[in-house]
């Protein structure tokens, strides 16, 4: 919120540059297909945002505006929905992602300590990306993999029964790669 004006200037800038459309950007074409498949239905907003995030990596203002205009939805409504759900990201994420499950079973078995170790090693908090855009650290409420607690997701692959040292090793391997 404090950066309201800063972000606003960004939006403004993006409006002044020529609009990207399906003509110029292939990713918009994929988005168009999803929108058409959903018959431009306004209630398909969440499905479409999922798809948009999949193809763009994150939901940049330009994409949100595009979706809003295609579905003829108020901009604020689209922004409200996109920021309500944790899985939608309005910021680009790092090259690698590490999701620590903080569900009860994992927590009881020490995932809090893993998170603390990661935050220290990476110098960022959960939900943030390292300044070099390499690693995004995230927390999950529960992955439903409680049987193998504590569970961590490295780039989309679940690993169970983790310990801080094991996790740091994985992270360090990412860091050392250029």
């Amino acid at each position: 919120m404090q950066s309201l004006t800063a972000e606003a200037t960004k939006t403004q800038k993006s409006q002044s540059t020529p609009k990207k459309t399906s003509e110029t950007d292939k990713r918009f074409k994929t988005l168009d297909i999803t929108i058409k498949r959903n018959h431009y239905r306004q209630d398909a907003l969440i499905e479409i945002l999922h798809k948009a995030q999949e193809s763009f990596g994150y939901l940049e203002p330009e994409v949100l505006e595009y979706v809003a205009r295609q579905l003829k939805l108020p901009l604020s409504r689209v922004y409200g929905v996109a920021t309500f759900y944790h899985l939608f990201s309005l910021k680009p994420s790092g090259a690698h992602s590490c999701v620590v499950c903080l569900g009860t079973a994992c927590y009881v078995k020490g995932s809090g300590k893993i998170m603390a170790a990661l935050e220290e090693e990476l110098g960022i908090k959960a939900g943030e990306t390292t300044p070099d855009d390499k690693i995004s650290l995230m927390a999950a409420r529960c992955l439903g993999a409680c049987g193998i607690a504590p569970a961590i997701v490295f780039d989309g692959t679940v690993a169970g029964k983790q310990e801080p040292e094991m996790v740091l090793e994985r992270i360090k391997a990412w860091q050392s790669k250029t």
Binding site: H86, G103, G144, C146, I148
Partner: protein, 537 residues
């Protein structure tokens, strides 16, 4: 597609199946332990050994004993192997031909398995969830056929009512009553929604059902559609369950192909289509009104009830919402009859319930047990107790539930008994805590969860949870006075009684139940001197 076709598919499939079936778990838990490579190596071993004519390897859903995965089970001998590695997996195949199996041999007669009673999970771990034929071979979709051709919608509703089935999502509302309400509502357009937004941390029953036996849920939904007069269903699954989504998509496609879903099901006048809706990471969407908002493409803000979804739900139409496990009970009830179901469980809680037994416990995983079994039987006999320690409390019902102290382990597990001790059935998370667990920290853990998951619409939940969290932090930092402790309790009751939806109403439960059973742990952290209460400077 008619009855004869259904039986034909079943027969063909039974004939196709090899005499020795090696079941390898390919669900999320075991996958994380590399079970896909295990399966690959098992397949290779079968090919190499030339046993292909009588042995087949089947990727199956969750066998429940997730803590010891990857699991491989061999039928008909019922051999169980635990913590199988890709390296030692081939020896399992060699053992079929006289060799010796290297992986750890599990005990399939262990109370963890023998004390279970499987209705929902009957075929879980035995059938390939990606092949509808396997489901049909074990009698799948016969209940739907029976409902369509041998029963009126009213009879179906009445059968479910007679069975005593109650909502497995946590609330425990009588399912039959819900169905009857939707069925009686006027209006042509009605909907059936399956709530698969299992968000309770420490719970993964629904994930396992969807991943292991998706057709069971689809069949339940279709029967519900017929019973209440709906032709359209939605399954709302959390995005955190990609495998469940993938298998559901496949299952729906296969069912459509066979004419079991879609128009004129089993060549009857009944149409029913099912769409999947994927969540986007909001716990509150497990609340039915928020879930409906989310399906409509909006923020998942709950809306006041009444009107209940049964009267005015999705797009204002009468809507039946049940949880995954509830729908999974439908086909068995229609097949075996309400009387059979009533014979299982206790007076007011019928049937079985799946629990995710996790935390500080020796055997963790999924269990399906008859209602009325005691917590002690579950924790000590099935779970094998706490490794190197003692049980201090069992948390049931997730962030909405409460902590039950070890002294109450003889409490029977049913809706009413759990409510009586200040907890709740919830969706089925059961987290065991040992002596090392600090209960105030546990309370704060859940409050942190609720504080982060509240939608922010109503005042008590949005800001009350924040204040409760900071009070708990103050207590844990040993900066709180007795007045703060009183404030904690008063505010807990206020949030509980004034919040708009279930999230806020139940958010203080972990605080209240720990205050009730472990007051000493709070008091030990309280500062005596209230005059000079410490101030953070």
């Amino acid at each position: 597609m008619d009855w004869t076709n259904l039986l034909e598919i079943a027969e063909t499939e039974q004939k196709r199946q090899k005499s020795i079936r090696v079941h390898c778990c390919t669900s999320t838990g075991c996958r994380a332990a590399n079970s896909l490579s295990v399966k690959q190596n098992l397949d290779n071993a079968v090919a190499e050994s030339g046993l292909g004519d009588r042995v087949e390897v089947i990727g199956v859903g969750c066998m429940g004993f997730c803590g010891r995965g990857p699991l491989v089970q061999v039928d008909p001998e019922d051999l169980l192997y635990e913590e199988v590695t890709p390296e030692n997996a081939p020896s399992i195949i060699e053992a079929l031909d006289g060799g010796e199996a290297k992986p750890i041999k599990g005990d399939s007669q262990h109370p963890f398995f023998s004390r279970q009673m499987k209705i929902v999970r009957q075929h879980t771990g035995k059938v390939d969830p990606e092949r509808i034929e396997e489901y049909i071979a074990v009698g799948g979709y016969q209940s739907l056929y029976k409902a369509l051709y041998e029963m009126t919608p009213e009879q179906v509703v009445s059968e479910i009512g007679k069975s005593g089935l109650r909502g497995r999502g946590g609330g425990g509302y009588p399912t039959g009553l819900k169905w009857a309400t939707v069925a009686k509502m006027p209006g042509k357009q009605k909907y059936v929604i399956c709530n698969g937004d299992e968000g309770d941390p420490g719970a993964f029953m629904d994930r396992s059902v969807l991943e292991s036996d998706p057709h069971l849920v689809l069949e339940g939904m279709a029967i519900a559609g017929y019973a209440v007069g709906a032709d359209h269903g939605y399954i709302y699954v959390r995005a955190e369950y990609p495998l469940a989504i993938q298998r559901l998509q496949k299952a729906i496609q296969q069912a459509k192909k066979y004419g079991i879903l879609g128009s004129q099901i089993f060549e009857s006048p009944f149409d029913f289509k099912i769409d999947i809706r994927i969540g986007a990471g909001a716990f509150v969407c497990g609340e039915e009104t928020a879930l409906i908002q989310s399906i409509e493409g909006k923020r998942g803000n709950p809306v006041p009830r009444p009107p209940y979804p049964a009267e005015s739900g999705l797009w204002g139409c009468p809507t039946l919402i049940n949880n995954v496990e509830t729908f999974a009970n439908i086909a068995p009830i229609i097949r075996e009859g309400a009387e059979w179901y009533v014979s299982i469980g206790t007076k007011n809680s019928k049937g079985t319930k799946i629990f995710a037994l996790t935390g500080k416990i020796r055997n963790n995983g999924l269990i399906e047990v008859p209602m009325g079994i005691t917590l002690r039987e579950i924790v000590e006999e099935m779970g094998g107790g706490v490794p190197n320690g003692e049980v201090k409390a069992v948390q049931t019902g997730g962030p909405s539930g409460g902590c039950i102290p070890a002294s109450l382990l003889d409490t029977p597990v049913d809706y009413d008994s759990l409510n009586k001790v200040g907890s709740m059935m919830g969706s089925g998370g059961m987290v065991v805590m040992d002596r090392e667990t600090n209960m105030v920290e546990v309370a704060r853990f859940y409050m942190e969860f609720c504080r982060g998951e509240t939608c922010g619409k109503c005042v008590p939940c949005r800001t009350g949870t924040v204040q409760l969290y900071s009070l708990l932090t103050k207590i844990l930092n040993k900066q709180a006075t007795k007045t703060d402790l009183e404030k904690l309790e008063t505010l807990s009751y206020m949030v509980k009684e004034t919040s708009l939806c279930g999230l806020g109403i139940s958010a203080p439960n972990p605080v209240l139940s720990t205050l009730r059973y472990f007051p000493q742990e709070y008091l030990e952290l309280i500062q005596e001197d209230s005059l000079n209460s410490k101030v953070t400077v």
